[in-house]
């Protein structure tokens, strides 16, 4: 019988509640958004007492469903002012689900700013413990080992870094990986600052003796699980030894670069002369050449078939960092004119250490370079700028608050953000559908809310012309499908590469849910539910003050041509508005 854990940081209480009927058949983003829309006033201050941060595993998380260890974390974002669901892999979600915890809601705010607690959750219940000073104000590569020392190596830790303690709007929420590194992140949208504003430093989860996840209809569940497993094991992108397993997500570098859509030097160009050096192929080569701990095919969570992560080695074979992802080697690499994996590796490690999202951090540094604080390509200076964040200097606070804040302070017009959130690694002027996605997503510029790159560039889920502007329907379909099939079920988004090409795989996802919950959903039901999630999020944003003029890209993309295609973003407003209002 699952429960909701409600933690009030004003009263310092932690209580278990029955799951209301309306939440029983959802999970992940469906649940965090529903709770946020019900309990958080849309006009509240994101760092004030009335915001809430909710953690929820997905519907099938904690079961034998493959690649389903994702956690959704939601609330009102201090970065964008919109509703936010930020999503991560790592070890925590499975443990929460197996403890029978449907969601943890953190509400209220301690009377004293700067005081922090830990929340310990295990089979016997939940309790708040004052956070010892030795766990605060330090890098997470120091703090996480201390916490594992204290609570045991087998727990999982969801925590915030210095950035979250200091309420910086780019503070992410960290989840440990299988080797207990502080390296997986629910990075986007600054939810680490919300956690920090509530005085919560970390959640320690011990699932020893946990009851596991009850399955209403085991036969149906097994049919679904097997169909999905088969699809994942067969598809060239997701299979063992396939593209993601061999090269990791940075295998995208070369194709997006070749397509002329790889944002370079703060979105000035779409092709970077140093791209090949940042690619998944280069990471794979370095791991092979250097040996030691270096590896691709690393998994971030239990039960993943794909295993797309990596551990990047230094020249001597010892560990530099896990993980060099596509988005991170782009934002801290090409976007800053840097072509060196040793530099991006160190920058990523610092993001993990200080507790910030790599995408936002890289774009903020790119803006800082645009402003003249460093030359594009100066990796050493980029590292110094990252250290400012950890030190909490005035400059550090500016950068730690993200690209929009940095652009405002330094008078930079070329600020590649939507609703205050930095764009990820695809330029809208060369790939129109992802540009539309950035504009209309309920979460600000966000590629994971609807990964149209699949049909636009990769030839997955069909093929569409990257330059075609008539994409309202396809963008909408991706928004709706993503909200349910991946973000609510607890599956990693990357199963999309298999299930969008192999229909049985997609059916399998729905059957898994039916098996767990005892429901009878069809694919259409699932899409409809995804649409309802997006609809409720838009209603929240509207009540928070957002209008359709916020569903637009930054002005400079309308007039600044992006080489090599030399195009601007020319999707008319009326097509953008058709996405959510056909």
């Amino acid at each position: 019988m699952s429960k909701i854990l409600r933690v009030n940081m004003t009263d310092l209480t932690a209580k278990f509640e029955d799951v209301p009927e309306k939440y029983k058949l959802t999970g992940g983003r469906g649940l965090t958004s529903a709770i946020t829309c019900t309990e958080v006033p849309p006009t509240c201050h994101p760092l004030g007492p009335n915001n809430k941060v909710t953690f929820a595993p997905g519907i099938v998380t904690g079961t034998a469903a493959p690649t389903s260890g994702r956690i959704s974390i939601g609330g009102k974002s201090p970065l964008t002012g919109t509703i936010k669901e930020t999503n991560s892999g790592g070890m925590a979600s499975r443990k929460l689900a197996r403890l029978g915890i449907k969601a943890i809601i953190i509400e209220g705010q301690p009377k004293e700013r700067g005081k922090f607690w830990l929340l310990k959750v295990d089979k016997d219940g939940a309790q708040l413990l004052p956070a010892a000073t030795e766990w605060l104000g330090k890098g997470l590569y120091e703090t996480y080992p201390r916490l594992f020392d204290k609570f045991g190596e087998k727990v999982s830790i969801i925590g915030i870094g210095i950035a979250g303690e200091k309420l910086m709007a780019n503070a992410g929420i960290c989840v440990n990986d299988p080797e207990n590194r502080p390296s997986r992140y629910a990075g986007r949208g600054g939810m680490g600052a919300v956690m920090g504003s509530k005085g919560l430093k970390a959640i320690i989860i011990d699932d020893t003796g946990s009851p596991g996840v009850p399955i209403a209809n085991k036969e149906v569940f097994d049919v679904g699980r097997k169909k999905l497993t088969k699809a994942l094991q067969e598809h060239a992108i997701t299979k063992p030894g396939g593209a993601l397993n061999t090269y990791g997500t940075a295998v995208l570098v070369n194709i997006i670069n070749e397509a002329g859509a790889f944002p370079t030097r703060n979105f000035r160009e779409g092709r970077f002369e140093g791209a090949a050096k940042l690619s998944g192929e280069a990471i794979n080569e370095a791991c092979k050449k250097r040996g030691g701990v270096g590896m691709t095919g690393h998994n971030c969570s239990v039960g993943c078939i794909i295993k797309c992560s990596n551990v990047y080695p230094k020249p001597d074979g010892t560990e530099l960092v896990s993980v060099q992802e596509y988005e991170s080697v782009w934002s801290l690499g090409a976007n800053c004119g840097i072509d060196d994996l040793e530099i991006t590796g160190e920058l990523i490690r610092l993001c993990n250490d200080y507790g910030v999202d790599t995408i936002e951090a890289g774009v903020a540094i790119g803006v800082a370079m645009e402003a003249g604080l460093a030359k594009f390509g100066d990796g050493k200076k980029a590292i110094e700028l990252m250290h400012e964040i950890g030190k909490g200097t005035t400059l550090g606070y500016i950068l730690g608050n993200g690209a929009t804040a940095a652009a405002r302070v330094f008078g930079v017009v070329r600020c590649p953000t939507v609703k205050g959130q930095a764009m990820p690694a695809y330029d809208p002027r060369a790939i129109k559908g992802i540009g539309m996605t950035y504009a209309i997503s309920t979460m600000g510029a966000d590629h994971t809310s609807g990964y149209t790159i699949a049909p636009e560039i990769l030839g997955v889920s069909g093929k569409v012309d990257q330059f075609d502007i008539n994409k309202a329907e396809i963008v909408r379909n991706f928004q709706h499908a993503t909200a349910f099939f991946f973000d609510t079920t607890g599956h990693c988004l990357f199963i999309a590469f298999a299930v969008l090409d192999i229909p049985e795989g997609l059916e399998g996802v729905v059957e898994e849910c039916n098996g767990v919950l005892g429901t009878n959903w069809t694919l259409d039901d699932a899409s409809r539910m995804g649409g309802e999630i997006v609809k409720m999020e838009r209603a929240f944003n509207e009540a928070a003050g957002f209008t359709k003029t916020d569903d637009r890209l930054p002005e400079f993309m309308n007039y600044e041509k992006l080489p090599p295609h030399n195009m601007v973003f020319d999707v008319p407003d009326k097509i953008l508005d058709k996405v959510h209002a056909p």
């Binding site: 092709r271 090949a276 590629h447 012309d465």
Partner: protein
Amino acid sequence: MSYKDKLGILNLRVSPNEKTMSTVEVRLYATLRKYYPSLGIGEPLVITLDDKTKLENLFDKLKIPKEEIKVALVNGRREKESYLLEDGDRVGIFSPIGGG
């Protein structure tokens, strides 16, 4: 008078029936690199082709099994196999890949 016109007068211009050549730059990525292991990542293979060579003919000339090719970009655009290559084209050829 242009050089070509002068050659025409002197009857030295290349006959229209004779083939002209195109030079294209080809970059192979992901698992396709195994067919040209000596090339660095992103290092182009410069190939001279007969004029009016189709993309699919290029695949044959490169001896890459077609079933391993997922996407071919020419000058940054995805093109069909029947695309006629032109002098100076930049071609990127990919096995199935994905990411985020």
